[in-house]
Subunit: 399 residues, 2 copies
């Protein structure tokens, strides 16, 4: 039997605070504006991927995600495979002792430790893990920046999941996309006390895919151009300064304004695209109430292309932010883990919310299906825990 | 007893298809962009106002609206009184036989034939009626354009209710507001078959007043500037052409896009302003479904600063538009009048909506409290029906 080569990694989810929306090149996933995100801890949300190759495998590359075979013939996955194989060929050309892996069929197995259906940017973690795992398998000298250029072609925001901490994605200007890459703004250790509570909103399936949605926005929104050319460049600078200075008030304000700006351009699309619903708006109202009570910005909401609220806050304000939701939404899934147990309920603030924001509280109780507690975390981590055994068969560590 | 002078008028509501949002001068109600509206028929929605003056009245000017005394000391009402009295003084100066009315106390009585709480731009009809009634009382030679300049100082959009049909409001550039006036784009008779069905959405009280909301948008929205300087000027031209050519597809598309653009800048405000809710979005979805079924734009939604949907359509498409809502929302108030009886239900389309847009239909059934059927109509009409009797006492024709 031919040798079976394997390498495994985990990769994180990232949630943008300056949003990516709009492509200047749909094939290469080149964005109309730069973006910036926080990488979330893989203790809470991660994709685990094993990449493997062997002459004994069926000739077709394959990918199994959460036990289900995925189509790998799409242009995006193919682009990642092609680029990684080209880099492996360079390795093989330089070192005649290196095994000839580039031409072997790939078998990839992936598992998410969170519900894929929850609308939690799983494609970002997925493509980051896929690219990182194959790079490990091929023993590529490529650094995260170089790999981010490849992962970007799989899913735009995946490029930011190659780094931990606070991560920018430079839009670049080259037509081949060579300068459209992720970069580290600051490692997680620079500002380690950043936390997030995610309110997962039960919602009907997304009507509009991100890709077709963002291209319709570019084509029809009359407000979009000024967001891409003026608003985001200014905010990218403000946000990087805020992170460097660990200035949560600016970080939070810019995060909220940029989420609103992104959803405004969706609404200005024709036909309009709505991702926020009444439950999302109730979450916004609660965050506003928390900040008003604190007399400053200690909580910041942001929404991707869906109704889920991601609320950033600093650990020292946990009781004033997550504590309020823990008391109001005590019966939801998600409070039972280690992070949840550590959060002190906030009965006083919850009582106040019940009185002053009764409608919003009612909408949250009705519309939030679960909460996820997390915080800033590290980039992809190599692991010896493999999802493919020595015989080349897929195995599961979760199911 | 001193003589009691009286004059009465009715004035219409107007619903903008190019929205007014943002003041460049808050005191004079000077807008940051031009706007355009359809005047709605006074058979369905009107303010009826009698203006009266007499030396026998208490010295303080007074205003009774729907039986309730209103505060007239505000700067806006005072501006209207002051400007109208100044014009009356010119009349008296030219004609020594003219009675000296300008210095007499004013007593004004007003009634709306629609629920004020429904969020139906009642201030526009209210100030238009107030200004027109006093102009009638003072026998001013002023034309509607001149009066629109005065009504604008009471409530911006009131200036458009001085005309019937299709009405523009030129933003103007003079710092004293002298060129910020309404103008007739086309009379109602030019395109008389324009109809509207209004879905009145039961909603909690407005959180944010229009005036403070629009000033916050101007101050904080990064997208607003391009709306005011580029988007609206282009759409004003497109809309005037569409009306002149009776081109409903363009009229409808621009109407929907401009409503979306206005609400997008509200969402881009910090903190964000939300007027649309899930019921409003359900109405948008139904309109999209109606247009898809027709293969062209035959219905156009627009939303003011609240969740109510105003849906414009042409009479010949009544069954395909209003007929669908009549079947889906048969149990709501508003279908029993003459207009409602004339609308043929559309069971086929309603059935299709029940299947293909079940969530939206459910939200509409739950969230719409009543419908109002109306259409394009005339400007203010002088009437002999007075709300103040010969003794100077308020009377009611409605209650």
């Amino acid at each position: 039997m031919s040798e079976i080569y394997r390498a495994s990694t985990t990769a994180p989810v990232n949630i943008a605070v300056i949003k990516y929306w709009g492509k200047r090149d749909a094939k290469l996933n080149l964005p109309t504006n730069s973006s910036l995100s926080v990488t979330l801890s893989q203790n809470d949300l991660r994709t685990h991927t094993t990449a493997s190759c062997s002459a004994s495998y069926p000739a077709e590359d394959s990918l199994l995600l959460n036990g289900k075979p995925q189509d790998v013939s799409g242009a995006r996955t193919q682009a990642c495979f092609r680029e990684l194989r080209a880099l492996r060929k360079e390795v093989e050309a330089k070192d005649s002792n290196a095994p000839k892996l580039a031409d072997l069929p790939l078998k990839i197995v992936s598992e998410n430790n969170f519900p894929t259906a929850a609308g939690l940017a799983s494609s970002a973690a997925g493509f980051a893990a896929l690219v990182r795992a194959i790079a490990n398998l091929y023993e590529l000298p490529a650094d995260p920046t170089e790999l981010s250029r490849i992962a970007r072609q799989g899913s735009g925001s995946a490029c930011r999941s190659l780094f931990g901490g606070y991560v920018g994605w430079e839009q670049g200007s080259a037509t081949d996309g060579s300068d459209s890459k992720a970069f580290e703004v600051a490692p997680a250790s620079h500002w380690p006390n950043m936390r997030a509570v995610i309110l997962v909103v039960s919602a009907a399936k997304k009507d509009v895919s991100s890709t077709s949605g963002m291209q319709t926005t570019v084509a029809t929104s009359s407000l979009f151009a000024s967001r891409a050319s003026e608003t985001v460049p200014r905010r990218m600078k403000e946000m990087q300064d805020a992170i460097k200075n660990k200035d949560f008030e600016t970080f939070g304000k810019v995060t909220m304004m940029d989420s609103n700006s992104f959803h405004a351009t969706c609404l200005d699309t024709y036909p309009p695209i709505f991702y926020l619903n009444d439950v999302s708006r109730a979450a916004i109202k609660m965050v506003e109430q928390i900040n008003t009570a604190a007399g400053k910005i200690i909580a910041a909401y942001t929404f991707d292309a869906g109704p889920n609220a991601v609320i950033y806050y600093l650990e020292e304000n946990e009781k004033q932010v997550a504590g309020v939701f823990k008391t109001l939404l005590a019966d939801k899934d998600g409070w039972s883990g280690e992070r949840g147990a550590a959060i002190e309920g906030n009965y006083e603030a919850a009582e106040k919310a019940n009185t002053e924001a009764e409608v919003a509280v009612g909408l949250l109780k009705e519309g939030v299906s679960r909460v996820i507690l997390t915080g800033v975390g590290e980039g992809p981590v190599r692991t010896e825990e493999a999802l493919i055994n020595e015989k080349g068969e897929p195995i599961s560590v979760l199911y």
